[in-house]
């Protein structure tokens, strides 16, 4: 499984052509306590950088964007019921949605972990 990162602090964790999307630990820390999550609909086709989920923290509203082109195949309802999961386990139980990725090369073009860590350092 490879994981890639966007400049907007989303991650996409690939398993075959299915990518699990969420926000990084760095992003959740900057946002503060999440209090509201609005997920995209299953079946929705997303273009790269398109707003997919809406999130609200105690401080601000933000969007989770699609890292690459693809179709939403599953959303994590657990974070809708308990948005704090995104704060406590952003890259585990606090994932947002799974998407069927249209073009694997687009994922490979995103930052790897070392590049992302250098960006936020």
């Amino acid at each position: 499984m490879t994981t890639r990162y966007t400049e907007d602090h989303e991650y996409i964790k690939m398993d075959g052509d299915i990518g699990t999307v969420g926000i990084t630990a760095f992003a959740q820390d900057k946002l503060g306590d999440l209090v509201y999550v609005e997920q995209p609909k299953v079946g929705r086709k997303l273009a790269a950088k398109e707003d997919a989920a809406i999130i609200e923290s105690v401080k601000a509203a933000a969007e989770v964007k699609a890292p690459v082109d693809g179709e939403v195949i599953e959303v994590n309802e657990a974070i809708v019921a308990d948005p704090s999961l995104v704060n406590t386990d952003p890259e585990g139980a606090g994932w947002f949605f799974k998407m069927k990725v249209s073009n694997a090369a687009a994922v490979a073009a995103l930052q790897d972990e070392a590049a992302y860590k250098a960006m936020i350092a």
Binding site: V35, I54, E56
Partner: protein
Amino acid sequence: MSETLSKTPLFDLHVSLGARMVPFAGYEMPVQYPPGVLKEHLHTRAHAGLFDVSHMGQVELHGADAAAALETLVPVDVIGIAPGKQRYAFFTNEAGGILDDLMIFNVGGYLHLVVNAACKAQDIAHLKSKIGGRCEVRVRDDLALLALQGPGAEAALTGVAVGLIPSVFMAGGRVKLAGIDCLVTRTGYTGEDGFEISVPNAHCEALAKALLAQPNVQPIGLGARDSLRLEAGLCLYGHDLDETTTPVEASLNWAMQKVRRTGGERAGGFPGASVILGQLDNPSSVKRKRVGLKPEGRAPIREGVEFQDSAGNKIGIVTSGGFGPTVNGPVIMGYVDTAHAASGTKINAMLRGTPTPVTVVGMPFAPHGYKRT
């Protein structure tokens, strides 16, 4: 930003406590500590929180004529504030708008004012130019300000105090805390019982550490201060109040005593009196009102979001909005046309372009814990 930020006497303490520092009203201030806004908010409501509000302005008015002079700038009964008592007030302009809101404490012999950080330079200039000839306007840059708030505040303050502490809401006096002479008032900006403590800059850190050493006292940042005051239905200047908002529109009639109103012994005589008294005398002339609102859903609705009626006409705007941790849901303060201001009225907030149902409700959103008797 090329502007140099000021630091309060507690800057080093904030950093050592792991605070996230942000620029606020020209100061580097702690927006949150490691527990985060949500936990800090809930801690304050359950126990006690210590806030550094040293960025606020502290000004003294000295002289026999000080109270009468100040009455020429505020639509409030200042002469009637008994020694040892405090009162909420606001400076008005000629249009009846609000220049800033403030607290006036009659220390006994002089008045101690606390004004907003972002407005303090203009407030001081205003005081000096308008009433500087009638009383001495003494700026107390040498004083810091701490707020200790929450149901555990009394026990925590008692733990460091020698002698009596102010016993009821809006009372105050001199108290020796941790060996330091302080000016303490039983007031605050969270809706909870609590105190504001004026302390010399040089002793502020020692006092803060002594208070933080009391059981169940945690440092609280500006983030939770904002969610606490919003749940308490308290206005934030520059958002819920400004130069275009009259006190009547802002639903602050309670803060304007009878003696300054039409028919009162000292009616009028403050900037914008004709506008403000006109609105008080003829409530149907008031076009908009500040109200509380609650959304039906879970999504926070923030400052700047427009209200519409069912026909799609703009009927108001959100001036403060967010998630209320104690309410455990979103809460809104905003202005609506008077026709829609009655409690129970349902209107729409245009959240990301989508009409979202909200209902006008009474404030506060979380019950006040003031110690009134």
